[in-house]
Amino acid sequence: MTDMSYLDGNMLDGPLREVFAVDVSGATGRCASCGATGPMAGLRVYSHAPGLVARCPACAEVMLRLVRGPDRAWLDLRGITFLQVPLPPA
């Protein structure tokens, strides 16, 4: 029996394209460690490192990591419970 309750991950392309095309520094993020919620532009970013490490201004835990290789990038958002992204009315 075929499980028809889910869709192929390709369907995420459109919905995520709308989200990731925005300026994330203008989004609001919630720290997964302490729960502090505020503008992503308020994070403390350590850039003298092998990647970008963005830390919560309240508890200093890592909220976001971005590593840029020559032909790839890795994005770790484990430290963020949610990103609230302003969008035009649907």
């Binding site: 350590y46 003298h48 092998p50 990647g51 590593v67 290789g69 770790d76």
Partner: protein, 196 residues
């Protein structure tokens, strides 16, 4: 094999790993705020796969036999620095009385940083916990009071502000190894990113 391809050149200046450039200063890289750990509050803990803990206070650590390795260091951000001199304790000494069948170490630091290495790379006179650099106490921005030094791997493996290591039978990737960087990080094979 061509006759000229039998090892690194020894006569034409310092040999650097591929993709590296030489620097004379000592860049400071950090993924977070610099921890300020007083030596009297510092400890180093080796935890085996069975949970046995081996601890050293600062006084106990600095009373161990000391070495002053002079080594070349290679950062994955492409700078290399040659002939750096450190003071510290060989991991061979620290692991001497540790009964373990582990194959891997997950090193952890004050401030939360982690990095993973095969345990074999910490043995054989190739790895130290150092507390001195260039004849002085190791400054906090370079990992003081003490850091790991494993110069045959990219420098992100040489964890600053080292606090201890957990030995395991399986490999657990650390901070940069879970964000795209290579699990092993051999600069001579240019193992920068996962899959390199």
């Amino acid at each position: 094999m061509s006759p000229g391809f039998q090892g690194r050149r020894r006569s034409a200046g310092p040999a650097l790993p591929p993709g590296q450039y030489l620097t004379e200063d000592f860049p400071v890289l950090s993924a977070g705020p610099t921890p300020r750990v007083r030596p009297d509050a510092w400890e180093f803990v080796v935890t085996t796969e069975t949970g046995t803990e081996h601890r050293w206070t600062w006084a106990e650590f600095t009373a161990l036999p000391q070495e002053t390795p002079t080594v070349d260091i290679h950062c994955v951000t492409r700078w290399s620095k040659l002939g750096t001199t450190w003071q510290g304790v060989s991991l061979d000494v620290l692991l001497d009385g540790v009964d373990t069948d582990a194959a891997y170490a997950l090193v952890h630091s004050y401030g939360g940083y982690t990095t993973n290495l095969p345990l074999a790379d910490l043995r054989g006179g190739r790895a130290w916990v150092v507390h001195g650099y260039d004849g002085r106490d190791l400054p906090a921005e370079h990992g003081g009071p003490a850091r790991l030094l494993v110069p045959h791997l990219y420098l992100w493996k040489s964890a600053k502000w080292v606090r201890g290591m957990r030995l395991g039978v399986t490999d657990t990737p650390g901070f940069w190894e879970t964000a795209g960087y290579h699990d092993y990080g051999d600069p001579w094979r240019e193992q920068r990113y996962a899959g390199d």
